[in-house]
Symmetry: C3
Subunit: 408 residues, 3 copies
């Protein structure tokens, strides 16, 4: 079958050709008159061409009705019958043509979303080129926090030891330092997951209504909470594995031997080793809170899998992500506090008059937990609930200002 015959035989024609080869369609233009052309093309880069592929096609074949869409489907999904339930986008200037394509797509089990006229083609063509847009902010925050705490710890631990005590403990950078940075970043990121929700509740309380939009930054923050939590889980996972390899590391063995030698300074009279019960309880509580926190972390991560989360009812999902989430945050924060329980008051903790990193990292989670605790007080909780159900506190202008003043 020649191209001409093919063009004449069908009403709905799919153009699965690279944009570079569109030129030849010009020659077919007379045969394409009145036909619906579905432009499935994608580009390899953003802004490679001045106009959208579909607009270019429309210019080449002006008498056909060009519809842009379905380009987000992968050949792999097509081949394996994995289309059902996928959302696809369509746009085009001819409503009847769009309708025809939408019907065909619905028959294939796709969920069609009309994005309007052909001027939206550009946006649709850029969809397959998007690279984790919702992960960008969380990853930037994670990177920033990691860099900050890494250098903070580098200065306080390694450089301090080199300058003040003339010790070279640079080997600690690889594991010990990283194993301080990871839990710190993880805990801060986890609390950053829950901070926007708390801020939103206080904002609603202050405004006395839920019908005013949140500021843009809060909206964007709330939309990437899931990704923040998953990045936090990643850091927690690294922290766990880094902790578990401690005893196979060379310094652990070295220290153990050192300790044995110290425990027996004079071998002729084996000094009885004293077992410190408080130490054992403290260390074990530290480990147990860490393990339980990680366990809940993993549970939260599992429910954020699309297929697991999708099978939960709304109440179940909110139970897991809110109740279990705050429990996780609480346990992990306790883990941090236990770490520092006997270090807070020691002078040696404040090297060069700076607080240790774990103190810094406990600030945000503590604030979130305190704010959440305030929100759980019955009278506050009831007011928030009523506002979220649509109740509004309307006051004359003057009163609002009063309240504002009180709040500040």
């Amino acid at each position: 079958m020649t191209h001409q015959e093919a063009a004449q035989s069908a009403n709905l024609i799919f153009i699965c050709v690279h944009r570079e080869h569109y030129e030849f369609l010009k020659t077919l233009a007379p045969h394409l008159e009145g036909k619906v052309l579905v432009d499935l093309s994608n580009n390899l880069k953003k802004n490679k061409y001045p106009e959208a592929n579909a607009a270019y096609l429309q210019r080449l074949v002006p008498k056909a009705a060009v519809v842009k869409g379905l380009n987000t489907l992968s050949a792999w999904a097509l081949q394996n019958g994995l289309l059902a339930g996928k959302q696809v986008y369509l746009c085009g200037n001819n409503a009847a043509a769009k309708q025809a394509v939408a019907e065909m797509a619905t028959k294939l089990g796709l969920a069609v979303l009309d994005r309007g006229s052909l001027s939206a083609a550009r946006e649709i063509e850029d969809f397959p080129l998007r690279l984790f847009p919702e992960w960008r902010l969380p990853l930037c925050v994670a990177l920033g926090l990691t860099a900050f705490f890494f250098f903070y710890l580098l200065i306080r631990d390694v450089i301090y030891a080199y300058v003040e005590k003339d010790q070279n403990i640079s080997y600690r950078i690889m594991v010990s330092l990283a194993n301080k940075v990871f839990p710190i970043v993880s805990l801060v990121m986890l609390s950053l997951c829950y901070l926007p929700g708390v801020i939103a509740a206080f904002l609603q309380l202050y405004r006395g209504t839920k019908y005013r939009r949140f500021p843009d930054w809060l909206d964007r923050w709330m939309l990437c909470r899931k990704q923040m939590g998953l990045v936090a889980l990643g850091f927690a996972f690294l922290h766990v594995v880094y902790t578990l390899i401690i005893p196979i590391r060379y310094p652990f063995e070295y220290n153990l031997i050192k300790q044995v030698q110290r425990a027996a300074p004079n071998q002729n009279q084996t000094t009885p080793l004293h077992f410190d019960n408080t130490e054992a309880w403290g260390a074990d509580s530290f480990f147990v809170t860490g393990i339980l926190g990680f366990f809940l972390y993993v549970l939260l991560g599992l429910t954020s899998l699309p297929s697991v989360g999708g099978s939960l009812s709304w109440r179940e999902f909110s139970f897991v992500q809110s109740k279990l989430g705050y429990l996780t945050l609480f346990i992990c924060t306790t883990h941090g506090y236990i770490y520092g329980w006997n270090k807070f008051l020691r002078r040696s903790t404040y090297k060069w008059y700076t607080p240790p990193a774990f103190m810094l990292c406990l600030i945000v989670p503590s604030v979130v937990l305190v704010l959440k605790f305030i929100l759980l007080v019955p009278c506050v909780d009831r007011t928030v609930m009523r506002i979220r159900q649509g109740w509004e506190r309307r006051r004359p202008r003057g009163e609002t200002d009063d309240m504002k003043a009180t709040n500040m």
Copy 2:
């Protein structure tokens, strides 16, 4: 557009209002005559109101055809086009109205299930309030087992040491005791996963037919096997992490130093340390069965993810959940037996004349494995297979009684 105009312009009207605000619909009642009203409302609590929201709505607007349904869809799913394939429930007294809503829902890709007349509205309104109903039984079993074994171990280990040897080893509660409770509960829960299947097979064998319903308790038990297995996996995960942190714990270090001192009582003549090959083999077998068991456990858990399980064929699913499942149970039970291999005959094991906890926990899995083994005997296996294919063993009443007697 006023509410009146809106009401007049459409035939299908979605009521997305909290029940408290239904009152105003009474004023619109004349305009709603003959219209289909879809009640999407949910309540915050069960049994908050004496009648269902939909029934209340019907009472307010008696001439409209109220259809309850679609309330299980989350706003979040609607916004993100994640509707396809979701199951929704409908009920209503007017068949034509239900049909209209069902058609609309089918177009959106939803799978509609008709639950009958409006009297089912209550049940449908309670759906979004359900909180893991199928997890309740497994979690209760897990909690009960945990509590029992915790106190059993507390008495036998900590209190025994305090009473009989005047030692305070309470620090063991946090990690060592928990690390005994977790594997025990995990193994018992795993065997409780497979016990109902075995009981069902024996029941079918005894009855000689598959066409009689199982007793209710067995049905309910079989329906929560997956959740039981996942709870068991959670306990196994905790057991693994608790085990892996042993060497960074304070008592490990203490014991090591102790052992070194003991190994060298007189330092002037370093006593050659003897390497016990049997000990090494035994301990390593213990670890290896544990690791392989956990690996298979995780595999089973992965295939119970909705998206993974859904992509398996029936035979693949049953292969994984049955063959691999019994293999896991077998390996984990072996893990338990190896733990006790040289403790069974020691007198010190039976403190205060009670068996140790690991012996108690091996009972159920051993029974399941023995019963399964009997079911695998060719002649038994063939009979079960024939019964499951619909074959029935019919006997006169007297003979059945005979058989009953023999069985007992």
Copy 3:
């Protein structure tokens, strides 16, 4: 309702009966004339009967239109409304009958695939009996590699020690040996994931076109890359857990005590223990590359979950599976090189003149990385990209032969 009445009342009849009971349909044949019979039956074994169930049914009821299909749906999925989006197969000799069944299936949200005439029934009946067909090749490769490296290491480690040094270190088989085999097989399998992609690129470069089919073995290899990667992840998981239990094993403790004794040969003058910084750095780099490699491994594994992979855009998926994949391979290969960094030049490494296993296992990943590096050179990369976009390098026959000669 009798069978006769049921048969007469409907046009579309589902036969949910075991093949053994088909016989009775013969008596109903007159009532089934002109009806559409959907054969849903499955067999328990392949090739149990000389003809397909559907063909047998057609023979029994020659005047009905038999359609085979829907047999891949599980009763469980039917009961739980999990049909939406599932792919089902149909076949039959009567086009109208097939059409009727297909329409009904589409209404249920199923994706129907027509497999032609009734002669395809056999194949369709064998679908539910398939047991992980796409996992067969990867598992065979894994098994082969495991067996080879196990015996190689057994000879070089255990048997060598026994023969040459008269030491019995057979206890190492359980953990130490396995822990060498697992990472080796994992790394080789991971590189085998990426090797076919590299071979395909070079093949396209050599041929100068993408329009010629790859050889069959390459096609089959490329289709099981995902499974190969997941098997590799399983081995890596085992390697990680096996490594983490090292310090609770008996030999670790033994060695530690040995080392303490050696460190203090004469206790009256405690020899100062020397801390080796290079050793600490080397060992820690080894651990860090291992952990990061495993972390990326797990990420790759997560994105291969159907529900996660399905929510990624094409570019995101290819970014993860290609960029992140090569990064994982690179880090894991580095992990292997660091392991051997000070062993390459030692004579004791080459027992019985054979290279150690870790050297053998580094060959394939190194080759893959070098080839990939060549493909990343701008001029090569550009050519491959052009070929993949449809550009063809056509030459007269002679030139191609020249090129062939050069290549060889």
